[in-house]
Each structure stands twice: as C-alpha cells, then as structure tokens.
C-alpha cells in the first residue's frame, strides 16, 4: 500500500505572471502551469483516494482563506482544499487559474496557509507532506519570523519546494541578465528560506525540462514461488539437496493503460451538453455511456431457418474440442485434464554456457534468492551460484510454482555482483513450442542437383563481406552497457501523457511523442557521420536494387513454374486436346493455364467469361454458404491473374455485374452474406494503386463497397 500524500501547490497568479519574458512564447503563469498540471494530473492518474492535493492562488484578486481576518494574508485564495482531485476539480481549477489584476500578496504568508491546510487535513496521521510554491519572485515578501516558520515546516515533516521563473541556478546554468533588484532580493530570501528547512530551491526551466523524462512507476514485487530448490528426490534418497528459495520478477512488461469501451449517448443530448459546456462527462465533447457485454449461445441445426438456433446457458456444460469432436467434461471431473503436480524447483542437469543459444529465452526473467533471513540457505545458494559460474555452466530445472500448476522448464544462470547474488531464471521452450520451419543456408547455395556453390547472386562476395565488416566495426556503440535504463516504453508513456494532457486541455490536438521516447528510433547522428564512408562503400558493394512497386507481385518468372526436371509442361498442355473449355471441377488450374496460353485478348476474354459463368453457377447452387469459400477462391484467383495480365477492366466489369446479381437476389435468393465475405476478403474493384492501367480510382473502389 502506497503512502498517503498531502501536497499543496501554491501558484503565483499575480498580474506580472501574465507577462511573457525573455522571448518565451508562453506567459510565466502558463509556463509554471506546465509543471503544476503535470504534477497534479500525475497524481490524479493514480486514481488513489489517499493521494490528496490542494491548490492555493497567490496574488489573486480575491482573498479566501482561513486566516483572512489578518490583512497580511490578503490576496491569497484557497482554490482547492486538500482531497482527491477529480475531473470537475480540474475543470474548475483550469478556469480559476488566470493572471489577476493585482501584484499584492505575500508569498511567505501563502506558505503559512499551506502549512495550516496540511495540519488541518492530516492531523497527526502518517502522511507524506509537501508544499510546492511556483512564482516569478516579483511580488512582495515579508521576511519576518522566517525561522519560526522554518522550524514548523521541519517539525511537521513537510518537504518544501520553491520553483521560480528565471531564478538563477548556477548548477543548471540559468542566469537572468539585468535582474531586477527586488527580484534578486526575493530569490535570496526564498533560497535561504527553503534550504534552511531542508527544502529544495530551483529554477522553473529545470523543472519543466525534467518533465520530458518519463517517470517510472516502481512496483513492489511479490514472490511468485516460495519453496525448495532441490537436486534429487528427498523423499527417496538421502543424498538429495534442498535449499529454501524465493522467486521474484526481474523483468515484467509494464502495460500501457487500457481504454474501456463506451457508446455515444443516444439522442442529441450529448451535443447540447457539450455546447453548454457544463456537465459533459468527457473531454472529447461527446457524452458517453458505458457498454455492457451480453453473450448468447448458438448451435448448428439444419432444420432451423438460417441453420442455427439459440440455446440456453443452463443447458451447456464445460468441454473441449478434440479435433472436430466435442468432449464434454462433467463438473465433478473438472480437473481431470490437469496434470497432478507439486510445487518445487528441481534441477534436471547442467549445460555449457557457451553452448546455450540466447534466443531460447521464452519469457520475462525472474530472480531466485535464498529464503529471507536464512543465512544457511543463502550460503548454500551462494555455493551453487559460484559453482555454476566457475564451471561456465547454467542449470536447467523443472519449475512448478504452485501445486497443480503446469510444470515449466527453466534456465538458471548465475548473477554475481559486489553486493548481490542470485540466480536469473527464464523459461525454456518445450518440444511443442519449437516450430521447425526450414530455410536454405546463408553461406552456400545448394543447387537442384545437390552441388554446393559458394559464388552466387544470393551470397556476398569478398568485397561485400569486407565492406560489411568495416561498417559494423564503425557503427560500434561506445557505451559500456545496453541503454536499458534510459529507454522508456514509448507507447505507455505516450498514452499516459496524452490522457493527462487531454484532461487539462480538452480542445488541443494530441501531442507528438516526446524526444525521450523516440531517442532510440534512429542511430546517433555523430555515429552516422563517423560511419558515412563505410556505409557508402557497403552500399556500392551490396548493389541492392529496390523493386519498383509496379513489378512487385508480378507473375513469377517462367523458370520457376517448371518442375525440378525443367520439363516444359506448357508444351504438353498445348497438346491436350480437351482443354479448350474450362471444366467446373478443375476450374482454377484450367483458367490459369488458358490465360498463360492466350495469344490474344479474345482468349483472355473467353477465359474470364467461362470462369465467370462457373462462379455464378457455384453461387446459384450453393446450399446456404456451402460453396462460398470456393467462390471467394475463384474470384481471388481471377483478380490476381487479371492484375498480372494488366486486364483489370475484365475483372471490374464482372464484379460489377456480379454485385448486381447478388444484391438483386438473382443467384438463388439472399446472398448478402457472400457479398460481405467478398468485402472482407478485399476482393473489390482493382483500382489504380493496384494496377496502373485501371480506370477505377481508389475512392471509387471504396465507394463500390459502401454503396448498396
């Protein structure tokens, strides 16, 4: 459970805060609010009730605080008492925080008010207390009784942060030229005041620039396994070895926040509300209502209209598919398919470090550490860690994290640092997890006759190898370690910051990702400059040619259409007397072959005509959706071939006529489901992006599907 928090932000809203200085595009107040909003919305994003925030306006037009009887507390307004900040508060604060018409109001007094707020709210309870004052330091400041206030801050355990626009900060490198005398005095006063009570004094520029660096949520890990790391079976052999250990995440992917589904609120109501600017429930200008899932269950029933009937949830039992057979499992046997296992981490054997292929890592990693406060366990585990390490080995073990959980096989690798020792554990693949797809070798080419060739257009020659070697060496990264610590999940942080930004600025467009997030999207410029010559050499040695999009996906070379022997099948096909008419049962091959033999446009036309009539017959005779897949295959083949033969119009004309017939229910009744399938399979009109000779534009092709 995270600690309770009480933070009061004091925002200087004096008249002078409305000015733009030193060529900045934003006013001092806008600048300060970049920081304050970021902090507040970060707190809101946690959704924690106990992360409370208060907001005080300094140098406000009005006066509204608990000590306002005393005139030294005038022009200070409490805008938000301590509590959980929600969206309505954010909207209210956004409207309330504007530059005022006054420059009066004492900054030190505002700190006293903030202390008061915290005291009232937190009483003596355990809280993380904090006051953040953001100002440009041009207002009046009373230097009386500072020590007393400092003592109070320290006694109450409050952390004070003072940030100022254009405050001098030698360390960060900010120095305001021609600084106003009064401001210089104020700066000194604030610095002494803050640093005198253990607080922080800084310049706003630094605070805002640090917002760029994403903040990482620290998650406390819980052990995912507590038990014995063992070697041998202790229930049967007295030579078994057991060490009590615990297992924790070493890495675990932090997921971006997930969005929930909503529906637009029915009726124009949402619009009105949005226009009225009040009560709208989202920042997007649309009123949303939550979405519920409802599930119904269907089975196939040929006698029913549509071939399917609904069944009741109560008539269903749990089961599994075995092939296409349903296997039902009664409730009493619910765990019948679960393998009986008991928790434990058991060593199977050891492997050589150098013979382990790093790509076998299947998942996130964990650490295995000795049982807490058990010196003997830690000593025993240490001997294993060092033993494995000195033997240049890894251990392979079987892990069952909890009783009845499926076993996994894990690799245990030693990790030895000056002040920390553990085993790194990672899941290894089982036999079923390995898919054996085969690929030709990369360092030689084996010809059809089985001859091994080492010079080939697919193999690098010596020049290319040398050029590649030089380039790789030139592009070596200097840093000692991989940049894991300063690489941040781009999607996670982009969405989080977009949500926070949108909450405060509902009408602004979304922002580009911050530079920090895309730091590793491109190689370092300096490195690229250094390697420029090598890259040029490499490119000329490589002689890579981009395939023009026009010929991409074009019919494969004739050569590859021959069997291994190289026999000319086309010649054989020509001799086949019966192949002048495409037969329905062998339509696709015969259609392709007729096209490849075509020596005139008339034959192509004839082939398409025959194929079209076969497809229409298939539709007409389809019982329900029985022939739909064949139809899609036929259409798809036709489309592909006619793109290749640069005759898109033939396909487009046929598809247009087919659409008419389908929608007109001329092909055996209602075939809308088929049309939907055609759409889903992206078998629409061939447009100009697909085939240059097409007369159909991309928009027309889209229109073709949407119009009914």
């Amino acid at each position: 459970m995270a600690e309770k928090e009480a933070t009061v932000y004091i925002v200087d809203v004096g008249k002078s805060m409305g000015e733009r200085r030193h060529g900045r595009s934003v006013t001092d107040l806008e600048w300060a609010m970049q920081y304050v909003w970021d902090r507040i919305t970060t707190t809101v994003a946690t959704g924690r009730k106990t992360a409370t925030v208060g907001v005080v306006a300094l140098r406000s037009d009005e006066t509204s605080n608990d000590l306002q009887e005393d005139t030294s507390f005038s022009k200070i307004s409490v805008l938000q008492n301590l509590g959980q900040v929600l969206m309505p508060d954010i909207r209210r604060l956004r409207d309330a925080i504007k530059p005022s018409q006054t420059n009066r109001g004492d900054a030190i007094s505002s700190v006293i008010i903030a202390i008061q707020m915290i005291n009232t709210y937190t009483k003596k309870l355990k809280y993380k207390r904090k006051i953040v004052l953001v100002t440009n330091g041009t207002g009046p400041m009373n230097n009386e009784q500072l020590e007393e206030i400092q003592k109070k801050i320290e006694d109450d355990g409050i952390e004070l942060v003072v940030l100022g626009a254009d405050f001098d900060d030698a360390e960060f490198g900010v120095k305001e030229e021609d600084k106003d005398m009064h401001k210089a005095e104020n700066e000194t006063l604030l610095r002494v005041f803050a640093e005198g009570c253990g607080g922080v004094f800084g310049t706003l520029e630094q605070a805002v620039s640090e917002l760029e660096v994403p903040r990482i949520k620290v998650t406390k890990s819980m052990p995912s396994f507590k038990g014995f790391l063992s070697l041998g079976d202790s229930s049967k052999y007295e030579t078994a070895l057991r060490i009590p250990v615990e297992r924790y995440f070493r890495t675990y992917v932090a997921k971006p926040p997930s969005a929930s589904s909503f529906a637009l609120r029915s009726g124009g109501q949402g619009q009105e509300e949005a226009e009225a600017g009040a009560g709208q429930s989202t920042s997007g200008g649309e009123a949303l209502t939550t979405v519920r899932m409802s599930r119904t269950y269907q089975i196939n029933d040929e006698s029913a209209p549509g071939g399917k009937v609904d069944v009741e949830r109560d008539d269903l039992a749990k089961g599994y598919e075995y092939g296409r057979t349903a296997v039902h499992i009664s409730q009493t046997d619910e765990n019948i398919t679960t393998l009986e296992t008991f928790a434990g981490l058991e060593i199977i054997g050891f492997v050589h470090m150098s013979k382990y292929d790093r790509y076998l890592h299947m998942a996130n990693t964990n650490v295995i550490i000795p049982q807490r406060a058990n010196d003997k366990a830690s000593l025993a585990l240490s001997s294993l860690i060092h033993g494995i390490y000195e033997q240049d080995s890894y251990a392979v073990a079987r892990l069952v994290a909890k009783e009845a959980k499926p076993p996994t096989i894990v690799l245990l690798a030693p990790s030895i640092e000056a002040d920390y020792e553990c085993l790194i554990e990672v899941t290894l693949p089982f036999a079923e997890d390995v898919r054996s797809y085969r690929f030709p070798p990369l360092d030689k080419v084996v010809t059809v006759s089985g001859k091994i060739v080492t010079e080939h257009r697919n193999l690098p020659n010596e020049d290319l190898q040398q050029a590649m070697s030089d380039y790789v060496d030139k592009m070596e990264l200097d840093e000692e370690e991989l940049p894991i610590d300063d690489s941040y999940s781009p999607l996670l942080h982009r969405i989080e910051s977009a949500v926070r930004y949108r909450a405060v600025h509902p009408n602004d467009p979304i922002l580009e990702p911050s530079e920090q997030l895309t730091k590793f999207a491109h190689p370092d410029k300096q490195l690229v400059r250094k390697a420029k010559g090598s890259l040029e050499n490499l490119m000329s040695a490589a002689n890579v040619k981009k395939v023009p999009p026009k010929t991409k996906g074009r019919k494969r070379l004739r050569e590859t259409e021959k069997p291994l022997s190289g026999l000319d099948i086309d010649a054989l096909l020509k001799q086949e007397p019966k192949r002048t008419k495409i037969s329905a049962e062998n339509a696709i091959p015969e259609f392709k072959q007729m096209l490849s033999r075509a020596d005139s446009l008339d034959i192509i036309r004839e082939a398409v005509k025959q194929m079209a009539s076969i497809i229409e017959t298939q539709i007409k005779h389809s019982l329900g959706d029985a022939n739909y897949d064949r139809v899609v295959e036929g259409l798809g083949t036709m489309r592909e071939e006619l793109v290749d033969y640069e005759e898109p119009t033939l396909y487009n004309d046929f598809l247009t006529s087919l659409k008419g017939k389908i929608l007109g229910e001329e092909l055996g009744g209602d075939r809308t489901e088929l049309w939907w399938l055609v759409r889903k399979s992206k078998l629409g009109l061939i447009d100009q992006t697909t085939s240059e000779v097409s007369k159909v534009t991309e928009d027309e092709a889209k229109e073709f599907f949407s119009a009914t």
Binding site: Y237, L264, S283, Y322, I348, F350, L428, E476, K545, R630
Partner: protein
Amino acid sequence: MADEGYTRDDENIEEEEVDETSFRAVKDAVLFAIDVSSSMLKPRLSEDPKKPGQESPTSAALKCAYHLMQQRIISNPHDMIGVLLYGTESSKFYDEDGERGGDISYPHCHLFTDLDIPSSEEVKELRALAEDAEEARKVLVPSKERVSMANVLFCANQIFTSKAPNFLSRRLFIVTDDDNPHGDSKSLRSAATVRARDLYDLGVNIELFPISRPDHEFDTSKFYDDIIYKTSPSDGEAPAYLQPDTNTSTAKGDGISLLNSLLSSINSRSVPRRSLFSNVPLEIGPNFKISVNGYLLLKRQEPARSCYVWLGGETPQIVKGITTQMADDTAQTVEKTEIRKAYKFGGEQVAFTPEELHALRNFGDPVIRIIGFKPLSSLPIWANVKHPSFIYPSEEDYVGSTRVFSALQQKLLKDQKMALVWFIPRKNAAPVVAAMIAGEEKIDENGVQKVPPGMWIIPLPFADDVRQNPESTMNVSPDALTDAMREIIGQLQLPKGVYEPLKYPNPALQWHYRILQALALDEDHPGEPEDKTKPKYRQIDKRAGDYVLAWSEQLDAAFDKMFGGTAATKSTLVKRGPKDSADSAGGPSAKRVKTEGGAGGVDEEVKRCYEKGTVSKLTLPVLKEFLTAHGRSAAGKKADLVDRVEQFFETN
C-alpha cells in the same frame, strides 16, 4: 467470463500470424497419399537384435499419418488432414451427393480418411489401420493392375478443391517406394505431369517422402522430378525447396529405422511456414534498406481453451458464443462503429476520437532499424521480456537482400556481435528496442535442418519493465564449499552439455490431450502420465550422491565457521535420516528452532502426529511449513490443511 475472452482476443492480435495481402484463409490442409503395393506392404525385419520388430513401409507411413494427426489436433486444431491410399484393390470416393462410397471414377484410390479436421472416430479408424493387422488386411490389399498416377493426382485435386477451398496452404504428402510408376509409358507419364501441373496451379504443394527398396535406391530423376516444382505455390517468394531433403533423407533400411527417419522427415514439415510479418525493411544504415520476413519459430503452445458444449442432442455439440455490446443506458445493441475508447481518469473518462487513438499508437511504418552494434557479451542474461522473432531475407522489395543479410549474419557470427535495433514489426505495433543476434544453422543426425540460419530479434526490456531486486541476505560461499558444488555440477551435465527442447514434451499439455483423447475415443484412463521433465532421480543419486554428502559437510563446516556457536545448537545435520538429510542442505534453520518440538524436524513431528491421529492438534504455521516443504498448497482453512497433510501420508 465474456469480458475475459474479450481482452484476451485483444492481446492475441499482436501475435497472430497474419497475411494481410491474401484473400485466402490462413489454414493448412495435409493429404497423405500412401502407396499400397506389395513391396510397400512387405514387412522389413529389424536388423538390430536389441530392438526386434518389423514394419512395412506402408504401416510406417500410416503410423506417421496417425502420429501427425494426433499432433496436429494439439498444435493446429483448425487445420485439416486426410489419408488417401492408392494402388489398393478397393476404390472409395465421394458419391454423387458428396458422401463417400464405392466410386469407380478413381479406380484403386481409396479415400480412407476424408480431408477434414479429424473427428474422434477418424482418429480411431486410422489407428486401427496403423496398428491392427486384422483391420488392415481388409483394406490394404494391393490391386493387380497398376494405378494411374494421373488419376491419383486428380483425385487429390478434387479432394482439395471441394474440402479445402481457399486454404492458404494445401499439401499433398506422397509416400512411395516406386520411383518409376509408369516405366516407359509416355502417355501415362505425360498425363501425370499435366495433373501435377494442375495441382501446382491450384496451389497444392506436393511433398515427396521417398523410400528406398532394399535392393534399389530411390531415384527422383526417373519420374518425380517432373511432378515436383521448385517453389512452393503458397510460399513462392522464398526459395523454399530445400534440395537436401530429397537427396539425403530418403528413408531406407529396416523397418524401425525407416519409421524413425520417416517420422523425423514428416515432423520437420508438420507445419506449413507462415510468416509473422513480411517484407519489413531492415534498415542497416540511413538510406540503406533490405527486406526481411519474420517468423515465430518459438512460441509457447497452450492447450486450447475450454468451450461450452450443448448436451441436448444425440451427440454433444460445440456451442458458438456470440458477444453483443449493449449501451448501458438504453440497453440497445451498439454497433462496432459506435464504440468509443476512453481512459478512466479522475472519476470520469478522457476520450479520444478513433483517429486520435490511431495516431497515438503510430510510431511510424514497420521497420527494423539498426542503431549500432555491440559485443554479444553486453547482452545481459536477464534482459528479456518475451520470445524472440526469427528473420530471414526476402528479395521481394529489394533485390540483393539475401547477400547483404548473409554478409551481416556471417559478420555477427564471426565477431560475436549483436545489433541494437528499433523494431516495429507491423503497422501500429508498439515499437521496442531489441537485440538482433545471428543464429547458426543446425542439422540433426538424419541430416534434417533443426534450426535454420538467420537472425533473431530479442525485444529488450524498457526501464519501465525492470524490477528492483528484492532485499536478500548474502553470504558468499567460501572456495572449499564452491569447489564441492563444482564436483556435483561436473557429474550432472546434460548430454553434450546442451538443452535440447525436442527431448522435453510439455507434460501438462500432453496429459491434457491424452485425457481428452481417452474421453473422445472411449478408451480407458491412461493411468500414469509420462513426464520427461522429471529429473532422473536415480541417476542423480548414483552419480552425484557422494559429492552431495561431501558438499553438505562443507556447508556445515563453513556455516559453523561463519556463524560460530549459534549454528552448532541449531544443527542436527550429522545424523541423517532419509528425510532429515533433505533439510540438512540449508533447511530453514532459524524457523526450525522455533517449531521444533524435540530432536526431529517438522517432518518427523508431523509424521508422529499423523501416526497418532493428532494432525489437527498441530499449529497452523507447522502445517503450512510442512505442506510448503512438500510442494503442496498451503492456502485455505486449517481443516483443509489437515486434510491435505493426511492425504500426503496416505498416498506416500
């Protein structure tokens, strides 16, 4: 429940193997065409006296088909498989109305298992054929006249055309020992080559599993080189036809080795190659790109999720669940286009338009961009978050990709280097920083490729994904103790010092399907599960037992030395009962002192109580410690724990 299913689908999108360009269904259909001739039926005796047995090539092929069928039910539950016997006396094909029956349009072609997702009956029938000689004798009768290969091929064509229309991958596995079925008959040969071409144009890939006869080496040049094509029609881009297969993996020899080499050869082709992403640019430097395809060679295979079964009819039927989304206020169905995504924030929702959401997820087009190189040793063993992707060059977008890729792969292999890359596998996928490492080709003892050559992309954790190490006690092992451990490690190397995944089937997955199979086929309960992941306890005891005892003494000595007198009182390690010695290796000494009643450990105490029937008198911490120590769940009420402890003794 419904909700859960929904989010899971969302996650899966990332991993699905997609083909965005094709209208074809990403499914695979395999049809076995098994030659049934007298030479194929002739049993071959095992030459190995230790493994007696006999196997005919046909029965070996049927066993392979059965094995593949079983395997694919687990690994590819939506893919089809069928078995066509040819050269049989009997003929069997579809009737006019689509049912199977005695048809003479394809004489001597016997469609034994129709091409489909197998049903439990079909599994049973095929097994009976593969194992039961009685059954086999009826069907496996060779015909007296020669079967026309053109007919066989066209028969296969018709099966694919009608049963697996629009599949992305359709494969015909021919198993035969006859390298020249039509001899010199020119017309029959040319008819067969034409039918083979039809299959090629239909998109069916013919894969040959040749078997040599004892006195005759199978020669593909006699006939099959006219039947088989260089490129696979469904994977035309890749130079897929791997020559070594036909040359080196011709199955031969006696029955058992024939079966094994056939199995290994078929296994290596059990799944069609499907890409995870295709033609993604690999940007080696600014303005220097080649194209690669990505594949998932390693992916955790999970049991299929349970489903609902309707029991109202004669046979149980799988129910299709349909989820509709309803607006909460009006209870009206909401169409997909009306759904808005919003994030919960400050008690309300912060919404974005679909276009904005899309833009937020967009970090540019798919790319693998090299941002520099580092020694392979700089990749920490812990820096991992998920399984890797495998990449292999493609010539489709950039001609010359293969040679450049090869140069890079060889350089990285030779110098033990890795590339650091910015990796966006497909449109709108979240970018990751990844390590790209070179992988060597690996060949198994049968000459079949085990691991392909190429490169692997290993996504690295971001700073957000790295957890802090938990606090831990550290007592560095003294050299003598470490040395004692090294002795143990030295005794227990896995064969060749290598982890071989293929030796370890997933026991939970196999058991799940084993039970389902028994239920589906009405078999007896299979009894004990086979679990190859269990350590070989006897061997460990035999090989390392003495070293463990030596280590244990070292441990006690080191512990005494480091922690002095305090340890001496805690330790009863010298006397070892069978169970006690287990705890001796660093048992939870601190705790044990607290819970120990007398001289014995927790185990003894609990055991005593069990024998006296007073387990329920034990305290909760003792019960918990005992159960945890034995890998049992320690959750629940006291009564549950007592039950579990008693159960432990009853079954042990």
